[in-house]
């Protein structure tokens, strides 16, 4: 992971957000991923979403595991603390970190190898615990850094760059996430910023476990004709449920979708994810239907994208464990130590 710092000079006329910051202020180091990598598009979508939401970078913790995707946090939000942990273990680092201080925004970046294979246990339990974080899988169906092995999200009929058949069916992470209790589940495509940026904004604003499966083609190892995760394949088979628009809290809804065809998802912080309905079956509050939609589109050889499921009222881990509102990492000896008198009582109870 080379580390090339970008020059700090900004054009004076660059657009500024509510904090007076430009998009450049949300960037990171220069990417060392392959030119055209879907992951870089996701990084720039994250920059865009954070810029538009006027997020304070230093209140974000970027966490990752190992792999191409897990390098990505170096390429956005320079002023955020980052934690590039070990392979497949980002969720546990995020869980501990979020318990220590629930006031930061936790953004986890993982890949299909990291989350669907070595780290699937941690992914499962993190979703099940409703950790308040945004969990992104940059899904390219392949192991890039080790040069092109199949990952567990690779489709059965897909072939490797070298012509080998993938012998095993793919694991569908969004279906799993819904079943496990994730309260915000979406799928998107790295090449579709129109859809991706609003979904990211909604995921970052959602309280609870937000899961985003982002198909992100690997230009070097999995972008050939017989791949089902290539740019061309996804563009042809993308079956969008809705066209999303994100409305921050207190802002007027400006979308001009025809009445009757929109679905609004009000989020915990008062913001709104407004969705133009494309599919007839679409109801983001219906867990069972969401899983059914995913399965059906898979059967039909399509890749279903958009907001798949959301429950804005779900409790998060901090609430479930009834943890104090004062962040645990701000507590000092006076808050935490029961003192000598209590210890005397304990001693007498042990006689």
């Amino acid at each position: 992971m080379t580390y090339i710092v970008k020059p700090k000079n900004h054009h004076p006329l660059l657009e500024k957000n509510e904090l007076g910051l430009t998009r450049r202020d949300y960037e990171g180091a220069v990417s060392t991923l392959c030119a055209g990598c879907g992951h870089d598009s996701i990084s720039s979508a994250i920059v865009e979403a954070c810029f538009q939401l006027s997020i304070e970078s230093y209140k974000v913790a970027k966490l990752s595991g190992i792999g191409c995707s897990s390098k990505a946090p170096a390429y956005f939000l320079n002023q955020s603390h980052g934690f590039n942990s070990v392979h497949g273990r980002m969720p546990s680092i995020a869980t501990g970190a979020a318990m220590a201080n629930h006031e930061l925004l936790y953004l986890g970046i993982s890949g299909d190898g990291d989350s669907a294979s070595i780290g699937i246990g941690q992914f499962i339990h993190c979703a099940r615990r409703q950790l308040n974080m945004t969990y992104i899988v940059e899904n390219n169906g392949t192991y890039g850094l080790t040069k092109g092995q199949f990952s567990a999200t690779n489709d059965l009929e897909s072939k490797s760059k070298y012509g080998d058949d993938n012998l095993f069916p793919s694991i569908d992470l969004p279906s799993m996430a819904i079943q496990l209790g994730a309260s915000f589940v979406a799928r998107s495509f790295s090449g579709d910023k129109e859809q991706l940026v609003p979904l990211l904004k909604a995921a970052l604003s959602h309280k609870g476990f937000s899961f985003l499966d982002i198909i992100s083609p690997c230009v070097t190892f999995n972008n050939h004709n017989s791949s089902t995760k290539s740019y061309d394949y996804i563009r042809e088979h993308n079956d969008a449920l809705s066209r999303p628009d994100f409305v921050p809290s207190g802002k007027e809804i400006l979308t001009d979708y025809p009445k009757g065809s929109t679905v609004d998802v009000p989020l915990h912080d008062g913001s709104l994810l407004s969705l133009e309905k494309i599919s007839e079956n679409y109801d983001p509050a219906d867990k069972i239907k969401a899983i059914q939609n995913i399965q059906e589109s898979q059967r039909d050889g399509k890749v279903l994208t958009g907001l798949l499921y959301a429950d804005p009222e779900a409790k998060d881990l901090k609430e479930i464990l009834n943890v104090s509102d004062k962040p645990l990492n701000e507590m000092n000896l006076n808050d935490l130590c029961p003192g000598s008198e209590k210890l005397k009582d304990i001693n007498s109870g042990l006689k």
Partner: protein, 605 residues
């Protein structure tokens, strides 16, 4: 012949696992403790929920010798499955108590047998089938109180305390106690020559386990996050933290918890959560045993290299592999000291009794924060799960937590360029920042990949070697901060020395007294931490021959001493015990005597 003794004996109970015997046996031990005589109850249990044989051994000793001792004076045999083996353990002149509802011939003329038809008596007195079974246990406690001439009222108060809030249960429990007590008063008056006489040798002592003490120490030490995965024998440590936190760490008014207690999906996640929380400025710990340490090793290496404070309690059990999950050993010394791939070394704290478990738990968090590295507290099953007569816990209200080198927003304002891994003070310890501290300064990338002083990724081998070398310097700094050894003499006077550590302490004190009586003058030192500090090396330097007493097969502490200090192997003689039972004083003295007389026993235990 009858064994005659006052306040000095070993009693063993044989029961069926899951029959409720452990709490009755525990109550017997506590009754002796309340009579003012130190006790060391040891639960010898199977890895099973119900049905297999289980034993409970209590050494009663007014002199405070509380290590395990071979040879049983009194045997309460309640499990026909194990009668034969149990009766063999009884010393000549010892006493056997068994349930004579079904009479038995034990084929030993040299022991004294006390028959009590417990099952028949309980069937007569109770109608509930569960009670008929359960109350046999209290029945024999009552019998023991009578034959040992103990104060029955002590047991009645123990029952009352146990069932506080469930008063209905007091009456039948006292009745069960009386069944045994009255039967013995009628049938065995003045029969037994072993007695418990009231004393005051437990003044200033409490009866508790190392796990309970360590969990409490974590509360006092300011731990707010405990992430763990159940594994014997460490489970009760995490549960102790949770129990004390629920009592003493709930916000008044909001009723919210000033702690997070998370049962993880496995040991890997438990360690990940611990590291994540510490990284973010909370004091966090996990507790596990051997197999868990193996699973956590990758993460331990990350915490070492990325310099994240981490506290891990390793309650050692019999290894290797799944090994003997319910038996004790000190066989994770090396895998803890050098856990993880690559060049790694970790701080070890090795307490020897529950009081020290409490103290070292508190200290572990200070050391981890100060040194920004994993600190592993090594207990073992005997120390962790058994109750020990130990000194009362102490806390000085002037104590402060040492959070180490953490930069605040104001600190960062005064710094031109923050370097996460810069050795500013020359002690090998850099400065760190918590996420969310400063809008423009102090952010860095924590990583397990090679990095430079500014936390940037680097593939520059020279830079990486510099970082690894600084970590050695930090470890040297650690050697002056960790607890120093305890010496049994003010000044070394012998050419021979003994090195020991951890739960061996109680047997060692007895062994040293025996050696002294044999006019063998040997110095002794108890190691309490790794890295070894100067005093440890001086002691080794000052002696020509050193016995290293360990409860493992390979002499792991000896290996560590040789590896870290370049000590000549010939000078270091292993005294080993690894049969899963706590080491005895007799074992230690026999092995030392054999070596000195030129007949070293090669095979231990």
């Amino acid at each position: 012949m009858k064994i005659k003794s006052v306040n000095d004996f070993v009693i063993k109970f044989a029961n069926v696992n899951g029959s409720g015997s452990a709490s009755a046996n525990q109550m017997f031990a506590k009754g002796v403790f309340r009579s003012g005589i130190p006790v060391s109850p040891k639960n010898i249990f199977p890895s099973n929920i119900q049905g297999l044989p289980t034993w409970f051994e209590v050494r009663v000793n007014e002199n405070g010798y509380l290590g395990r001792r071979e040879g049983i004076d009194l045997f309460v045999a309640m499990n026909p499955q194990s009668y034969q083996k149990d009766v063999e353990e009884l010393k000549e002149g010892g006493y056997l108590i068994y349930d004579s509802s079904w009479k038995r011939d034990f084929g030993r003329e040299d022991i004294n047998i006390l028959e009590i038809p417990l099952t028949k008596l309980c069937v007569q007195e109770f109608t509930n089938p569960k009670q008929r079974l359960l109350f046999k246990n209290l029945g024999y406690v009552g019998l023991l109180a009578s034959i040992l001439e103990m104060d029955k009222e002590i047991y009645i108060s123990l029952i009352e305390e146990q069932f506080k809030g469930k008063e209905k249960l007091i009456e039948p429990n006292v009745k069960a106690l009386n069944i045994g007590y009255n039967y013995a008063e009628e049938n065995f008056k003045d029969y037994c020559d072993i007695k418990v006489n009231k004393s005051n040798k437990t003044d200033g002592l409490i009866l508790t386990s190392g796990n309970d003490a360590a969990g409490l120490g974590c509360v006092y030490g300011g731990a707010t996050v405990c992430a763990w995965y159940p594994i014997t024998p460490s489970t009760s440590l995490a549960e102790s933290y949770s129990k004390y936190s629920e009592k003493m760490r709930v916000e008044i008014g909001t009723e919210k918890n000033k702690f997070a207690f998370i049962q993880a999906e496995d040991e890997l996640a438990a360690m990940g959560m611990t590291i994540g929380a510490n990284w973010n400025g909370a004091r966090a710990f996990t507790a596990t045993s051997g197999p868990g340490v193996s699973l956590m090793s990758e993460f331990i290496g990350l915490a070492y290299f990325a310099e994240v404070p981490t506290v891990l309690f390793n309650v050692q059990r019999g290894g290797p592999s799944t090994g003997m999950p319910t038996r004790t050993q000190q066989s994770d010394i090396l895998c803890s000291a050098y856990a993880s791939h690559g060049d790694t070394k970790h701080i070890l704290l090795i307490p020897s009794d529950p009081k020290e478990c409490f103290d070292f738990a508190v200290e572990a968090f200070d050391l981890a924060d100060r040194l920004q590295t994993p600190v592993i507290v090594l207990l073992d099953l005997d120390l962790g799960m058994n109750d020990w007569s130990t000194k009362e816990f102490e806390w000085d209200d002037n104590n402060q937590y040492d959070r180490g080198k953490v930069l605040s927003k104001e600190d960062l304002d005064g710094i031109e360029k923050f370097g996460r891994y810069l050795d500013v003070d020359g002690d090998g310890i850099p400065y760190r920042t918590y996420p969310g501290t400063h809008p423009e300064k102090g952010a860095y990338f924590t990583r397990g990949t090679s990095h430079d002083e500014y936390a940037g990724y680097t593939e520059d081998g020279v830079k990486n070697a510099e970082m690894l070398t600084r970590l050695v310097k930090k470890f040297q700094t650690a050697s002056s901060l960790v607890p120093s050894p305890v010496f049994n003499q003010e000044k070394s006077t012998s050419s021979m020395g003994i090195i020991y550590f951890g739960s061996t302490d109680c047997s060692m004190q007895e062994a040293l007294d025996v050696l002294d009586q044999q006019n063998l003058n040997i110095d002794a030192m108890r190691i309490r931490a790794f890295p070894f500090n100067l005093e440890v090396w001086e002691f080794i330097e000052d002696h020509d021959l050193l016995f290293i007493v360990e409860q493992n097969r390979d002499g792991q502490m000896r290996t560590l001493i040789m590896a870290e200090g370049g000590i000549i192997p010939d000078k270091l003689v292993s005294i080993l015990c690894f049969d899963g039972q706590p080491i005895t004083a007799e074992h230690i003295t026999n092995k030392i005597n054999a070596h000195i007389s030129g007949k070293p026993a090669l095979v231990a235990s």
